[in-house]
């Protein structure tokens, strides 16, 4: 990989501020140092915690199999090596029009030459007054609070939303001995991601875990005065509940950028190289709408920073990034993996294993070309297809790159 461009103009940057101290922010900080930036590096994190990994929160952390120390994304040695000024527990509240000053909620300001926006997304909440017993699952504090409640003995848990967070949380709650119902407004969970055939397969996993799945009906209201005691559905049914987990998606954290010159629309608008309207401001991870698409994938948050930082240090987009969408989910003892770009109407067929055996690889195809793959407990064949899909995609993209990049 050449960093010639980065070194030439990057040497002019004395301070770079990374706003956001989670996965994408940490990876950006690592890339800044790896690509030769030796100036002042400021990292601002809204949460009071050092960078931690979110995927285990709904799984091993909730189950008590992984403690907080195992969530850490970095260790003391690396933290020292990065030589960054960390500001935890402080939220950014603004970026000036030129993108040269980050305003913090506590009144401090950071003067900076470059900015990496990595503020992530926040869990969607239901409207209405806050009731005790109602949880979201996005942050470590969310997970701590839910876990504390689940340890108090068997509960009636209603999970609103049958997406991956909802399904994993339901799976963990069931494993802990609670009585769990999942409510999904769509006819099936994960329909847009997996299509009807495979969404039906994944929906079937809930029954295996002893979890009731209610589909095709929305939530009208939560019942309760101070503590929640039920979930009222749009058809009038009321599901009794001691604990409610709301897993209905996330919204990008762009509120703090409202007064800036950046274009915001379901995320911070960036070109294919993660560069915003200001060349010295890049965005990565859940908050970034890169080349027209925003992906809340762990692998986007880890793949984008290398390119974003390269472009930041170069002062313009010299490289583009378009990682193959990839996500996974562990639920009810099964590992689901999906990669590719499925569109409605793609045909899907099982090519290895069998659905009824609980281990299979399915391929999505359009006009005879494989577009995506889904596997349940079939990791090695899945990896083969995922690598092949990524390789096929890389070719046309590489032609647009300003200079060849060694792979």
């Amino acid at each position: 990989m050449s960093t010639v461009n980065g070194m030439r103009t990057g040497s002019g940057m004395r301070t770079v501020t990374v706003v956001g101290a989670s996965l994408a922010g940490l990876y950006a900080a690592r890339e800044l140092r790896a690509q030769g930036f030796d100036g002042r590096l400021v990292i601002v994190g809204e949460e009071p915690h050092r960078p931690y990994d979110r995927p285990p929160l709904s799984k091993d952390f909730l189950l008590g199999k992984a403690g907080e120390d195992q969530l850490a994304l970095s260790d003391v040695d690396e933290t020292l090596e990065l030589g960054a000024e960390w500001m935890f527990g402080v939220r950014a509240r603004g970026l000036d029009a030129r993108g040269r000053t980050v305003l913090l909620e506590d009144g401090r300001t950071v003067s900076t030459d470059g900015v990496v926006i990595a503020t992530g997304a926040s869990a969607h909440r239901l409207p209405g007054p806050a009731l005790t017993g109602v949880h979201t699952l996005r942050t470590l504090d969310d997970a701590r609070s839910l876990r504390a409640e689940l340890l108090r003995g068997p509960r009636r848990v209603v999970v609103i939303g049958g997406g991956f967070i909802g399904a994993e949380t339901a799976s963990s709650c069931a494993a802990l001995g609670h009585f769990v119902t999942v409510v999904e407004a769509a006819p099936l969970p994960l329909l847009p991601q997996l299509g009807p055939e495979m969404a039906a397969v994944c929906a079937g996993l809930h029954a295996r875990g002893g979890v009731e799945l209610v589909t095709g009906v929305g939530v009208a209201a939560l019942r309760g005065d101070t503590a929640v005691h039920g979930v009222e559905l749009a058809d009038g049914r009321v599901l009794p509940a001691d604990v409610v987990v709301v897993g209905i998606g996330a919204v990008p954290n762009t509120g703090w950028l409202a007064g800036s010159t950046l274009a915001l629309h379901d995320g911070v608008l960036c070109d294919d190289g993660c560069v915003t309207a200001l060349p010295q401001v890049v965005a990565v991870g859940d908050v970034a709408r890169v080349g027209g698409a925003r992906a809340e994938h762990w692998t986007s948050a880890t793949a984008q920073p290398r390119v974003a930082v390269r472009n930041l240090l170069a002062g313009r987009a010299v490289e583009t990034v378009r990682p193959l969408p990839y996500f996974w989910s562990d639920q009810y003892g099964s590992r689901i993996q999906f990669a590719g770009r499925r569109k409605d109407g793609d045909l899907v067929r099982v090519v290895e294993g069998a659905v009824e055996d609980g281990s299979f690889l399915a391929l999505y195809e359009r006009a005879g070309v494989t577009t995506a793959a889904l596997a349940v407990d079939r990791p090695r064949p899945f990896t083969r297809v995922r690598r092949e899909l990524a390789r096929c995609e890389a070719r046309p993209v590489m032609q647009n790159v300003a200079e060849p990049v060694a792979l």
Binding site: D60, W328, T383
Partner: protein
């Protein structure tokens, strides 16, 4: 010393997981036999199901990669090495000699 399988049952490019505590993965890669801890040091995934390329195995979950010869991670997200274990072939049978756990008497 733990018997794993017959050598002919572990062809080049193959791998096998043995249910020790912690589990161990044995690979036949690049003409050699290697054994490392099976669980990725990043997150719960079985390296025996990983992708082999030369002497490297890539975790099937997050693409962390480990050098089979040293156990060291060659890229993120893994930061800590896996342990390596000695492998021998006696009378056509592959054996693993688990390394002593850290902090325990060998």
């Amino acid at each position: 010393m733990i018997p794993v399988c017959r050598l002919e049952d572990l062809p080049e490019g193959g791998s096998v997981r043995i249910d020790t505590a912690p589990p161990i993965a044995v690979f036949h890669a690049d003409g050699e036999l290697y054994a490392i801890d099976d669980t990725c040091t990043h997150q719960d995934a079985s390296l025996s199901e990983g992708w082999l390329e030369g002497c490297l195995v890539e975790c099937p979950l997050h693409e962390a990669s480990f050098d089979l010869r040293t156990g060291r991670p060659t890229c993120l997200p893994a930061r800590r090495p896996v342990r390596t274990h000695r492998v021998t072939v006696d009378d056509g049978v592959v054996h693993v000699h688990p390394a002593a756990e850290e902090g325990t008497a060998a």
